[in-house]
């Protein structure tokens, strides 16, 4: 009985507290910089697509909402021929961002992406690509990776040692 009376008193005291409600459309909530919202594909500092179509994001995706197809450019670099994210399935878990070896796929603090037509929730590569580097301004995958391209040979990447001659006994 006493605890009921005390409960009522404690609730009555809330007459003088302010409502916690954030009235959303008028009053935008604060979103942290690393909030997991709409997914984008970023570009490297040279303005090229970062994505190398390795398929790791599609493999990591727990709801299988990512679809892509690899293709090779004339200089030997890889890129996605198409890259498709079905946002009506996406659960914004960020696993794709964690899996991505080239920092290409990133999540942004934006969640206002409602559509009346479900088909409009499917984003193609041109919808996903942004003109920026996202969270990693200096990173360029083909500069640091050992892969041979038209502009550099093996061992010419940043911080990369020369290839070891396996036929020689000298170090």
């Amino acid at each position: 009985m006493l605890s009921e009376l005390r409960t009522m008193w404690e609730v009555l005291k809330h007459t003088f507290t302010k409502a916690e409600t954030v009235e959303y459309p008028e009053q935008m909530p604060y979103l942290a910089p690393r909030y997991r919202g709409r997914i984008v594909l970023t570009r490297d500092p040279d303005g090229e697509e970062r994505c190398v179509a390795c398929n790791l994001c599609a493999a990591a995706c727990p709801v299988d909402c990512i679809a892509l197809q690899k293709d090779t450019r004339e200089d030997g670099t890889w890129y996605p021929e198409f890259f498709r994210i079905n946002f009506s399935r996406c659960i914004m878990c960020g696993m794709c961002e964690e899996a991505c070896p080239t920092y290409a796929i990133q999540l942004t603090p934006d969640f206002e992406m409602c559509e009346y037509d479900r088909q409009n929730m499917v984003y193609e590569k041109e919808n996903l690509l942004i003109n920026g580097v996202g969270k990693y301004p200096d990173y360029n995958f083909y500069r640091v990776s050992g892969m041979k391209t038209a502009s550099k040979d093996k061992g010419e990447a940043l911080n990369e040692a020369r290839p070891i001659d396996t036929k020689s006994l000298l170090p």
Partner: protein, 324 residues
């Protein structure tokens, strides 16, 4: 003119009762919001009062579906019964001197009878729906009625003994000096608890307990039939509040240290408003008890308290008589 007075008053009560119940749905949600640190409906119109109209329109345009497996006649009759019974209860409420539809010398019994009739509505609704949740809700309502009706009536016997009359006007007049909430404190506590149980308000809304029985007795109801149940519930809330004010808080009398310089109707409605706010506070604060707890509270705590109250009141009255 004096013959027309009750008719005009009855129509006024009918209209203001329905409108009041509608506004009360909004008011309750806003008040719950205040106590739960949120806003409640605040988008439509000033302070969100337009929500009432929006809800009305929604309920009016809903499909009026009668389940094919239900008992058709009883199914339609049930929601009407609660509204009619609760409205009838307002006939004896003395709002102000001379401002009541009828002053019968058994007003109190009439009120108790009408609230008991309202329970039939819940019972029949649960039975007619032919649905296990609705049936369970109806069963609970029946048990709740049987146990809480007993001491709801008995708790008022102290008031009746002190007044010597069942007439509500006499009861209010008897409180000119001291309100019965001081002399009949046990009766007040029991009557408030029984009143909540009687009108199926939280925390005693076990017949509809939405987390156990989906919606209890009105699981199968929709549209205006559901609205009638809600109307009945809010009318019941208002009626119980009116009765608490009439029986224990001096009816139309102002508080003794302020006096009667404001119109009697103001005091009556102001006190009723406070009691309604108290009921909303109960809803906001107290969780619903388990069903056996409800029953044991009724029979093992409330009934003995009531009987002790009657005993003490009777003894005190006889003692005072003996001294005088």
């Amino acid at each position: 003119m004096s013959e027309l007075m009750p008719v005009i008053l009855a129509l006024t009560i009918l209209i203001s009762g329905v409108a009041g119940a509608a506004v009360l749905t909004w008011f309750e949600r806003r008040l719950l919001g205040v106590w739960q640190d949120r806003y409640g409906p605040n988008r439509l119109g000033p302070l969100g009062i337009g929500q009432v109209v929006a809800d009305m329109i929604k309920l009016l345009f809903k499909d009026d579906w009668i389940p094919p497996f239900s008992d058709r006649v009883v199914f339609i009759f049930a929601p009407t019964a609660i509204v009619v019974a609760m409205m009838m209860g307002f006939a004896v409420v003395p709002f102000a001197p001379g401002m009541m539809i009828i002053d019968v010398n058994i007003g109190l019994l009439f009120f108790l009878g009408m609230t008991s009739l309202a329970v039939y509505s819940v019972l029949l609704g649960g039975l007619a729906s032919n649905n296990k949740y609705a049936l369970l809700g109806g069963l609970r309502s029946a048990a709740q009625m049987v146990s809480y009706e007993v001491f709801m009536g008995l708790s008022l016997m102290g008031v009746v003994m002190m007044t010597g009359s069942f007439s509500l006007v006499d009861i209010v007049e008897a409180q000119t000096e001291v309100w019965f909430c001081f002399t009949q404190i046990l009766g007040l506590i029991v009557f408030v608890i029984a009143g909540i149980a009687e009108s199926h308000r939280l925390p005693f809304d076990l017949p509809e307990a939405e987390h156990e029985l989906t919606a209890g007795f009105h699981t199968e109801y929709g549209g205006m039939k559901f609205a009638m149940f809600m109307l009945g519930e809010y009318l019941g809330l208002m009626l119980i509040s009116c009765m608490i004010v009439t029986l224990f808080f001096g009816g139309w009398h102002g508080p003794m240290f302020i006096g009667d310089w404001l119109p009697p109707f103001f005091w009556f409605s102001f006190k009723t408003f406070i009691v309604i706010c108290f009921f909303v506070l109960l809803r906001a604060a107290i969780p619903r008890p388990r069903y056996d707890q409800l029953m044991s509270l009724g029979w093992k705590v409330m009934l003995p308290i009531t009987l002790v109250n009657i005993l003490i009141t009777g003894a005190a009255l006889l003692w005072i008589e003996g001294v005088a």
